[in-house]
């Protein structure tokens, strides 16, 4: 006779069993690499950039060598890169909101029912193409002899080609282009759920279209806007592909910095330290967002 378990205990067991694969995946593919990274970040680099084995552990701890990489990571040149990444991600988020919100607004509240799905699909279809190819396409557009300059020259709007490639502006364009759907979709979801009678009530009580928007639609779309901003900002701050392809060596972001340390820079432990700092910062932002949202009674829908 085995020990008996109550109904709720058995349900709990089943729940745990079903979550087991999730825990394995999260543990193996997420936690483990992070732990490896953490370990790497404390070691000094050897000649080829790999973490060097420690011979004398007590000396290693007492001399403070273990913090070497972290101390390195806050040197001014690296801080400039961090600041630039922050700025670029913030501006990208702002632009995505500016451009994306009206699009979501149109699809959710103005477009006729039968066209909504089509429009949403149009916003998402670009994802079916390789991201790399789409960003590379912007090179063709923005180059000195690229499509945009050719058009502007032809229309005699400019007389010399505009220097667009390899600038922060190009990176910005690429980022906004790539991240826009991540703003459009959550904002759309928020607006779609809006109770239309609230808009009617607002109108009935005397609010014009603008009044209704700012006093009813905008506040109630906040969860979607917040989610969209998070979904744009966080990948934005860790970007390295866009800055690599469109920004050249002039526009180095944190992502490129880490990537460099793992390749030509030959200092994997430093790269690991920077990557972890970035991860910690992002985590802190997410936690702050979750706390703020919960406190306002908003749903934390990511």
């Amino acid at each position: 006779m085995g020990k008996t378990r109550s109904r709720s205990q058995r349900k709990g067991d089943r729940g745990t069993m079903l979550l087991l694969p999730t825990w394995l995946v999260l543990g193996g593919l997420l936690l483990l690499p992070l732990l490896i990274l953490l370990g790497t970040s404390f070691h000094p680099p050897d000649d080829v950039g790999n973490p060097q084995a420690i011979s004398n552990w007590s000396q290693f701890f007492h001399s403070g060598d273990w913090a070497h990489n972290y101390v390195q990571s806050v040197r001014p040149i690296y801080l400039r890169v961090a600041w630039r990444s922050l700025w670029l991600a913030a501006i990208t988020t702002g632009l995505c909101l500016l451009i994306g919100y009206p699009v979501s607004f149109y699809i959710a509240l103005i477009a006729p029912q039968r066209r909504k799905n089509l429009l949403l699909a149009l916003a998402v279809i670009p994802f079916w193409t390789s991201f790399l190819i789409r960003i590379s396409a912007w090179r063709i557009i923005l180059q000195d002899r690229g499509a945009l300059n050719a058009l502007l020259l032809h229309l005699h709007l400019i007389y010399e080609p505009l220097r667009l490639m390899d600038t922060p502006l190009a990176v910005l364009i690429g980022l906004v282009y790539g991240e826009l759907p991540f703003m459009i979709l959550p904002v759309y979801a928020s607006l779609e759920k809006l109770d239309r009678t609230l808009l009617e009530a607002s109108s009935d009580l005397g609010a014009s279209g603008r009044g209704t928007f700012w006093r009813v639609v905008w506040p109630l779309s906040m969860p979607g806007v917040a989610a969209g901003c998070v979904l744009v900002f966080i990948p934005g701050i860790g970007q390295f592909i866009v800055s690599d392809l469109l920004g050249g060596s002039r526009t180095m972001l944190l992502g490129n910095l880490v990537q460099n340390q793992y390749t030509s820079g030959r200092d994997k432990p430093l790269g690991a330290a920077i990557a972890l700092e970035l991860t910690a910062a992002v985590l802190a932002m997410l936690i702050a967002y979750a706390i703020a949202a919960k406190r306002r009674g908003m749903e934390v829908a990511l």
Binding site: S203, A207, G211, L220
Partner: protein, 338 residues
């Protein structure tokens, strides 16, 4: 009658050209200032659509609506002198009660510092003083309804439109609110246009009732008239029950069951019937009886005599009596001919 609302030949069609739905069909009504006017009818009869056209949330396909003599075509809802109380209240979930009620005040030029006084006044009117800081999700159904009412009344409209506002309340609360609303209306002197599918409600509260069916107004009269002198079979059947006997209608409560037949030339008429069923309902007894030609009648008699279990068992013969004045005659088309 001083006309507050003039509805002239208003029609509203929805849908594609190939499959149009006529929600409101050539309706003309005049609603007087200070009246409690109800639009009564079954689901889908067009009453809510008509109300929304008064509010400006829908536009008539043809015809015109005048409020206080002013043509309302092209006037958007936020510029109309009416306010609407929605069926499901439509309270703003992100604002507390005070801010909900104060919502429209700024469009009337009320200064911010005066808003609180006006809000308190409105909440007192609906007996919800003290709940200013609650949020809508912390309110009961009845409270939400009152907030919706206060939010409209605070703007001191000349006309208040109410779209089945009591529909979601339980019976007891509903009856209480009916009395309160009626008293409120009398006190404020505002014209109320009230949409409902509940005939008891309409009869309790209204000065006049327009009975609607499939987009048309079948009858618009004082409440008692609509009940006592229905002009069509539909109206007779919608407000209370109606027995159709050989070209005229008599209500069940106007019939009585006796052993003997009525004397000739008197005030009453009678017909022989066979009792089919009897249902005791406390205050009343409902009889189902059958005429010789097979037609069934329903009789609703108040139990004035002590209840006799054995009286009127199935199969027994009786006579059904009615006062001649209670017979409402219809012609073949089902319309009142006399």
């Amino acid at each position: 009658m001083d006309i507050a609302i003039d509805i002239r030949a208003v029609t509203k069609r929805f849908g594609e050209v190939t499959a149009p739905v006529t929600a409101v069909d050539n309706v003309s009504l005049s609603i007087g200032r200070g009246e409690f006017f109800s639009l009564l009818g079954p689901s889908g009869c067009g009453k809510t659509t008509l109300l929304r056209m008064l509010a400006g949330l829908e536009h008539p396909t043809s015809g015109s609506i005048l409020l206080d003599g002013r043509e309302m075509a092209g006037v958007p809802p936020h510029l109309r002198p009416v306010n609407l109380v929605f069926q499901h209240y439509a309270l703003f979930p992100h604002l507390n009660v005070a801010k909900n009620v104060a919502f429209g005040l700024r469009y009337q030029g009320v200064a911010r510092r005066d808003e609180n006084a006006r809000v308190a006044e409105a909440l007192e009117l609906v007996r919800l003083g003290g709940l200013e800081n609650r949020r809508p999700d912390q309110l009961s159904g009845g409270q939400k309804q009152r907030v919706a009412l206060a939010r409209a009344l605070v703007l001191k409209p000349k006309v208040l439109l109410l779209d089945e506002p009591l529909g979601a309340l339980d019976q007891k609360l509903r009856k209480e609110m009916q009395v309160e609303l009626k008293a409120l209306q009398k006190r404020l002197g505002i014209t109320f246009v009230f949409v409902t599918h509940d005939q008891d409600e309409a009869l309790t509260m209204s000065d006049r009732i327009a009975v609607m069916n499939a987009g048309r107004v079948e009858q618009a009269d004082a409440a008692a008239t609509v009940f006592e002198r229905p002009r069509t079979l539909f109206v007779a059947g919608f407000l209370g029950a109606a027995n159709l006997i050989d070209g005229f209608i008599v209500r069940p409560e106007k019939l009585s069951l006796r052993l003997e037949s009525a004397p000739e030339g008197g005030a009453f008429l009678s017909l022989p019937v066979t009792v089919e069923d009897r249902v005791y309902q406390g205050i009343n007894t409902i009889w189902t009886v059958r005429l010789d030609d097979g037609k069934r009648l329903t009789i609703c008699q108040q139990n004035t005599e002590p209840f006799d279990v054995h009286a009127g068992a199935a199969g027994e013969k009786r006579h059904v009596w009615w006062d001649k004045r209670h017979a409402v005659y219809l012609d073949e088309k089902g319309l009142d001919a006399g």
